[in-house]
């Protein structure tokens, strides 16, 4: 048990800090549209040019191949530098890319990995369906083999930024007879393929905010060479890189939120004024508890990274995810209460209002809080199904 960092790690930290200090893009990140795509790709290109792209990717695929400790340091410094999160690059860097690294063939690696690192392409995810959410393995979008192609029919939904993406990691059913986990294939889908239509879905933040699309596939032809891993082994392929970063990127989020709480304290003091000391106000009590819980959430993330570094593979990280999600949601709600009546204004321009509304997705996306609790109950505590 220790909080030490070696001399070399400390030097690495200084190097990362200096580069981030000089290079972070300071403009406000647009919340939507082509402008957002351009912003995120530009920041990725800048990191690539500076030699900082793909901190968790192995060296042989163009990444930095950093140890978990150094990834942690990078993300800590990234958050402290208030560098923007390029969410549009998330699927490519943290899911599709690592999946191709783990299970792709030479041609797939050669084509896709450099484009991702260089900030040339955006990937999206085609996993959930209208009738396959928490029960993802019951997905029905179907693909049959026709010569060298797969022919896809069906629909995917909750595809974040699908309308801004070049490629999609797509799960399709290629064997309808097999048990539900065994008949799925993981394929690379070109979003410009004929037969794909997109229905934009506005989200709850403010009018005309398109975050998701629903994708319809109407006899969409995808070369069989775009299957990653074996045909019908797509479930295992998809699972092989879940939790790829093993918590290190979570630390970035933790530190961002810790700084947000500090900002909230200052704003609350300002709003209440000297007549009503924060320590005597209900808002103050909530802020104090939040400060403590946020520290604990970060400590849990350090535990997850420690376990990963020791090679322990289990479902303990779901404890951290549950705590982190709910603490962040509580922070966003409290921020709103600090704004008072101003919370009723400008949901697009005011980050506190915008991200409060966005925070409702935290306990839904990538496994709802309730599914997390099932996992904790069954896989961590050993309770019967």
């Amino acid at each position: 048990m220790d909080l030490h960092f070696s001399r070399e790690d400390k030097l690495f930290r200084e190097e990362a800090r200096a580069w981030l200090h000089d290079n972070v893009i300071r403009e406000r990140r647009p919340h939507a549209g082509e402008e957002m795509r351009e912003f995120d790709l530009a920041w990725q290109r800048k990191q690539y040019a500076g030699g900082w792209a793909g901190v968790a990717w192995p060296k042989e695929f163009g990444g930095l191949g950093l140890s978990l400790t150094r990834q942690l340091i990078w993300h800590e410094e990234y958050a402290r530098a208030d560098a923007p999160d390029n969410h549009l690059c998330f699927v490519a860097l943290n899911h599709a890319g690592p999946t191709i690294i783990a299970r792709g063939n030479a041609a797939q690696k050669q084509l896709h990995l450099p484009q991702i690192l260089r900030g040339e392409v955006i990937w999206c995810q085609g996993f959930s369906e209208p009738n396959a959410g928490s029960d993802l393995a019951s997905l029905k979008t179907h693909a049959h083999v026709d010569g060298d192609d797969l022919v896809v029919n069906g629909s995917k939904i909750w595809t974040s930024h699908g309308h801004l993406s070049d490629w999609q990691e797509l799960l399709v059913r290629t064997d309808t007879e097999a048990p539900k986990h065994k008949g799925i294939s993981w394929v690379i889908c070109d979003m410009k393929s004929p037969g794909i239509t997109l229905r934009p879905i506005q989200i709850m933040t403010s009018p005309n905010q398109v975050h998701f699309v629903q994708c319809f596939y109407d006899d969409v032809r995808i070369p069989r060479s775009n299957i990653v891993g074996d045909m019908n082994d797509g479930w295992n392929v998809a699972m092989s890189t879940l939790g790829f970063e093993r918590g290190t990127a979570q630390v970035r989020d933790q530190i961002r939120y810790a700084f947000l709480v500090e900002k909230m304290i200052r704003k609350a003091e300002e709003r209440l004024g000297s007549d009503c000391p924060l320590s005597r106000d209900e808002i103050g009590a909530r802020l104090a508890q939040l400060r403590a819980d946020m520290a604990a959430a970060r400590a849990m993330t350090y535990m997850v990274v420690s376990r990963a570094e020791a090679g322990i593979q289990d479902s303990q990280s779901s404890l951290m995810r549950a705590m982190v999600g709910e603490t962040q949601q509580r922070a966003r709600r409290l921020a709103l209460d600090i704004l008072g009546p101003y919370a009723l204004e400008n949901p697009e321009e005011d980050d506190w209002v915008y991200f409060y509304l966005r925070s409702f997705s935290i306990t839904i996306a990538a496994g709802t809080a309730q599914i997390q609790r099932n996992i904790i109950g069954e896989r961590v505590l050993g309770l019967p199904r």
Partner: protein, 340 residues
């Protein structure tokens, strides 16, 4: 950076676990046990012999030479077994005596002295002169009493306290009395600026609460696996499963924050006040909520004195009140410097 226990630390914990489960099983509070007071002080000489009383004290001072991290881990086990809270008086007295080079140290380290706790009832003065009204916890028959607050910690002779009125304790596994100090001079006074006794106390109370939160989580999970209704173990129902999952989330949050706080103290990093305060807040919250939910998962048996669930609830309240309740701690939490 590593939050996992080393092999040596695991061994320290395992030794303590097997000692405590043998000598201080939680079932010791069940009827027909008198349920009044606590005889754990009989264990102090053995705990001393095993090295746990001076675990974080330098070898030169007669300790084991380990750190706040190992002391925290020991307290997690003390909490799991609901050891008398007076052990905290002993540990802190050892630190104070070592700081002052006091001739009391050898006796304390041998576990031959009994040190009760004084917890303020309202505003009190702690310093080279102490005054105010207190609760004495497990202070009956103890020759010494330890009081602690943000300003520092004081070791007082128990006869410095007057107007002692025994009262029935909500946590019937401790003795409780009201008492008063009037311009009393402690035998040892160490200010927080000299040695951070208050932060260490918060850390250890937090660690104790971690053990409690984990113990109740484990009790609830075990019961949910064995108790059958509607032809199935009740733990297969999501209503119960999710209660157990919540208990696991809280315990893990409390444990991780206690480790964070302990390492910050052990390595003298900035943020000791911030992290130890957060540690106690999160852990006593977890201990209390888990204790309550453990009763709920047990159903009617959880409401009886025949099950151990209620003792964890009551001890949780005691720990939450000790040397700064949630209200006061939130105030310190808000004022603490953010370490970044």
């Amino acid at each position: 950076m590593n939050f996992l226990l080393s092999d040596e630390q695991t061994q320290i914990v395992d030794t303590l676990k097997s000692f405590l489960t043998g000598q201080a099983p939680v079932a010791r509070f069940r009827p027909p046990a008198p349920q009044i007071g606590n005889s754990d002080h009989h264990l102090w000489p053995q705990l001393a012999e095993l090295g746990y009383l001076g675990i974080a004290l330098s070898e030169a001072a007669g300790g084991i030479g380990l750190t706040a991290a190992e002391e925290m881990l020991a307290y997690r086990e003390f909490g799991r077994q609901l050891l008398s809270p007076a052990v905290l008086g002993l540990t802190l007295a050892v630190h104070l005596a070592a700081y002052e080079n006091s001739d009391l140290l050898p006796e304390l380290l041998r576990g031959r002295m009994r040190v009760g706790l004084a917890n303020p009832l309202g505003a009190v003065t702690l310093g080279p002169t102490c005054a105010g009204t207190f609760h004495l916890m497990d202070g009956q028959d103890a020759a010494w009493i330890l009081a602690c607050g943000p300003a520092g910690a004081a070791l007082l002779r128990s006869d410095a306290f007057t107007e002692i009125v025994p009262v029935a304790a909500t946590d019937s596994a401790v003795t409780l009395g009201r008492a008063r100090l009037t311009a009393a001079e402690p035998r040892i006074w160490v200010a927080s600026s000299q040695w951070p006794s208050y932060q260490r106390a918060q850390l250890l109370i937090g660690a104790y609460a971690v053990g409690m939160a984990e113990a109740t989580r484990d009790m609830a999970v075990d019961y949910a696996k064995t108790r059958q209704q509607f032809g199935k173990p009740i733990g297969s129902f999501q209503a119960i499963k999710h209660l157990c999952a919540d208990m696991a989330i809280r315990s893990e949050a409390a444990l991780c924050q206690s480790i964070f706080a302990a390492l910050v103290q052990a390595e003298a990093l900035p943020g000791a006040e911030f992290h130890s305060t957060a540690g106690k807040l999160v852990a006593t919250g977890a201990a209390l909520q888990n204790a309550a939910q453990n009763i709920q998962v047990h159903g009617a048996i959880g409401f009886t004195a025949e099950a151990d669930a209620h003792v964890y609830l009551k001890r949780g309240h005691l720990m939450e009140q000790l040397w700064g309740d949630t209200r006061q701690l939130r105030e310190s939490m808000l004022a603490a410097e953010f370490p970044g």
